[in-house]
Symmetry: C2
Subunit: 111 residues, 2 copies
DNA sequence: TTGACATAACACCATTTGGTTATATATAAT
DNA sequence: ATTATATATAACCAAATGGTGTTATGTCAA
């Protein structure tokens, strides 16, 4: 029962521009490693490493089809990010509200 | 006119757990470097590095007050992340919809 | 002015990261 | 069976990252 230490989480996975590009490409259509790699200037091996990191974070999944391995976006794993963001959006909106208040009451402050 | 190459963007800034913790602490209240650092096991110097990265990404800002430097959350900078996420949520919901469709039409498939 | 305190600036280090090339394995097609 | 294609795996490397400790610098208080 290997404890399966997940080395990469969603936050780390999306930190790299190449990995975000992979997600974007897969959002357009499911595709093989070769097809994905064709959109990058870096080596196929390098792209595969990014793919593995994304898969480890649960953001994509791949299944072998003949000699190809077709990858698919798994966007549900972004929920963790969404929840994290939602917490901070609360403060974001509060701040905007406060700003709005200050502006609307500007003349009152010029006593 | 130094081109001010921004080394850290929002995606990278939030990738590190310590930095997310700094954001969380600042969401609670504005505070000095010393106070922030008191919540970590790592050295003050290390915390300062994280703070600088967050500031560079525009997620926080600090102003000198006497001998202290008080930092404040700048949540508007999370908009970039929010927009990025919104794009993928579209696929997320589509997928859930598709799944719902399959379930609801399950008996039809058992021909 | 001396001491205490908060932050800033350095120099240094181990590990991780993002990349490379080379080699092996599995599947398809001739 | 042979060859071409797609992916997998391994060994390697430079640079970035996250951490350390030490040494300035600025500010408040006695």
């Amino acid at each position: 029962m290997n404890a399966e230490q997940q080395k990469y989480d969603v936050f780390q996975a999306i930190a790299d521009p190449s990995r975000r590009k992979v997600l974007q490409l897969l959002s357009n259509k499911n595709q093989s490693i070769a097809e994905l790699a064709s959109h990058f200037d870096i080596s196929r091996t390098a792209v595969v490493k990014h793919i593995n990191i994304l898969a480890e974070a649960g953001l994509i999944s791949g299944k072998k089809q003949g000699k190809e391995k077709i990858y698919e976006l798994q966007p549900e794993s972004l929920k963790e990010l969404k929840d994290w963001l939602a917490y901070f959006e609360q403060f974001w909106h509060n701040k905007l509200t406060k700003f709005k208040y200050v502006v609307e009451n500007d003349t009152l402050n010029n006593k």
